[in-house]
Symmetry: C2
Subunit: 360 residues, 2 copies
């Protein structure tokens, strides 16, 4: 079966419903009925039609169907960077969930740029997708009106809050608080935090920092700004740099909350370069529980954000919006706001809780 001349057709191009109809000696409508599993078709005709379809190698033309039906079966997923484990994971899960619901996903990395994020919202693909799952990093509360779009939209993350759209968030504050408390419970007294975004009010950096503060406060420890190492980016190199800057200033914490796992990996590196040991000298906790975290040395204790639930929820909510049904059990004209709870996965970069075994 190569390119041109298939047996039945005179033309070289791909067969259409009309061709099938002709070959089977029925009308287009009947072919359509068979293709779409319409109930009331006699076995005889169904057989004929299927045979013709088989012989001609017919496949429905999706764009044409889309044009007719007014939807495309595609959703877009806008994320900052596909090479970050967190987003790669999220994308993978979203694709999987969408597939279960019969939708396809157009992944669109916005590459840490404001224009990229705005284009994802208002760009030209607009008409070729049914909806958008949107994870902004650059846009903030000032850009709320950008988010007023006339198609189904689910926002993932914490840079923006509003009751004007559906939102799936992770428990950043609680997660960071939990991490900080855990460090303190295992004996740390000078807990540093790596990767903050000074001046930012929302977004995961700010929320995680807030959790860190709450953790300190509940334990009765003071917040010491010198133990806070900002970093705009969250790649590993940034973790190395931030931790180096602390240690090189002679600021030596006994515990570190890194705002994601890649930063944490960098922190481990930096600590070891300075001739110290984890967790004996310094304990480290990461965020995201990425695949890597268990293979760093030492393996990394990390906050797991429940990405699978995020993916499931966002896709389902979006699908409901596309179908015009009210998602989950929200009331009419109300928007979804769901937090996905996170959990602490204990590995070897932190010391044992007093009187406990370390989980591996």
């Amino acid at each position: 079966m190569s390119l041109a001349a298939s047996p039945g057709t005179g033309r070289g191009s791909t067969p259409t419903m009309k061709d099938v109809a002709q070959a089977a000696g029925v009308s287009v409508k009947t072919v359509s009925n068979v293709v779409n599993d319409y109930e009331f078709v006699s076995e005889a005709t169904r057989g004929k039609v299927n045979k013709a379809i088989e012989e001609l190698g017919y496949r429905v033309n999706v764009p044409a169907r889309n044009l007719r039906l007014g939807y495309t079966g595609m959703i877009s997923l806008a994320i900052p960077d596909l090479t970050m484990p967190y987003f790669a994971q999220l994308s993978s899960l979203v694709i999987e969930e969408a597939k279960k619901l019969g939708m396809r996903v157009l992944v669109e990395p916005t590459l840490y740029s404001r224009e990229g994020e705005i284009e994802a919202l208002h760009g030209s693909q607009r008409s070729m997708i049914d909806g958008l799952i949107y994870s902004p990093l650059e846009l903030g509360m000032d850009d709320l009106d950008q988010l007023r779009v006339d198609y189904p939209l689910v926002v993932v993350g914490e840079r923006i809050f509003s009751d004007q759209f559906d939102h799936v968030a992770t428990e950043n504050v609680e997660g960071a608080k939990h991490a900080t408390a855990y460090l303190i419970n295992t004996g740390c007294r000078r807990v540093a935090v790596i990767g903050t975004h000074p001046g930012e009010k929302l977004g995961s950096a700010a929320l995680r920092l807030e959790g860190y503060r709450q953790g300190l406060e509940e334990a009765g420890l003071d917040y010491d700004p010198r133990l806070v190492a900002p970093s705009r980016m969250w790649h590993r190199i940034d973790g190395v740099n931030a931790m180096n800057s602390l240690l090189d200033q002679g600021i030596v914490p006994d515990g570190v909350v890194a705002l994601n796992d890649m930063l944490a990996a960098g922190v481990l590196h930096s600590i070891q370069m300075h001739g110290m040991s984890v967790p004996d000298d310094i304990s480290v906790i990461g965020f995201d529980n990425s695949d890597d975290s268990q293979y760093l040395s030492p393996s990394l204790t990390s906050i797991s954000p429940g990405l699978k639930a995020v993916a499931r929820l966002s896709v389902r909510v979006l699908k409901d919006r596309i179908n015009g049904v009210q998602p989950l059990n929200t009331k009419e004209s109300q928007h979804v706001f769901r937090k996905v709870s996170s959990s602490l996965v204990v590995r070897n970069s932190t010391r044992a809780l007093p009187g406990n075994e370390i989980a591996v």
Copy 2:
């Protein structure tokens, strides 16, 4: 501007060319001309039309245009697993390249399954894409006829070779040979290889193993099957297991070629668990030069496969095929076969070459 009632239109739905034409007092064709930057349109009408477009908030309906034009501007990228750094990186680069050429990418993880890979080739999205970049892992030379598809296809990787389709490959043999030779040059005499796929004749595992053998041979060392640790999967846990199995049998190499970086990370872990040091006791080289490799401890010497070139080449070749032009400088009805050369990135998991500094 919310859902319903925009100012000009009577209907609630999105405006069409017809609406614009009406509003501007011209014909549909003229609107089309303006939208598509047709040269011969008077400034006056162009102005009128643009004004109407602006006012109505008109956007072209891509599916409709696609139906008319017969293409979709979308290509598909089928890869085994988006969460593997190698493929995440490749996807990211392909998306970027495609965007430069005005195309969008549908990423399709085949999830290590044969059916997934076959579906990517023959599945229902067939009609909504213009072409496919295909990186199979399960399909082999026995499945060559599956690859005879009637749409533009570029195969990436080394599981399948044929002059029946365009192919972009990386230099696996040469890379592994280079790695092995480097270990030997830095004093290793018992070099193990981790992650082979026994029985496999093609595919990167087999090719990299072949390179390893060539490296040994050129150095006059014997091939010792006990130093070969197979592993079907290439995640880090597999590296841990494979290396453990070697060490636990009392087989202690002084150098290891891991067939990818994740395996290598596992190998480092295993070695350290066994109380040995890298590179003093055992040197380790990985494959893929993933972002992680520089933040393992010790940082990982690795073969860099030149993914950017792979992405560039595959997208460009595919685009040429879609446009019906002969890609690169191949002759009529000839297929592209290009190898992208790899290079060795030296870090701290290997010892210094005699008389040389270690690059960092």
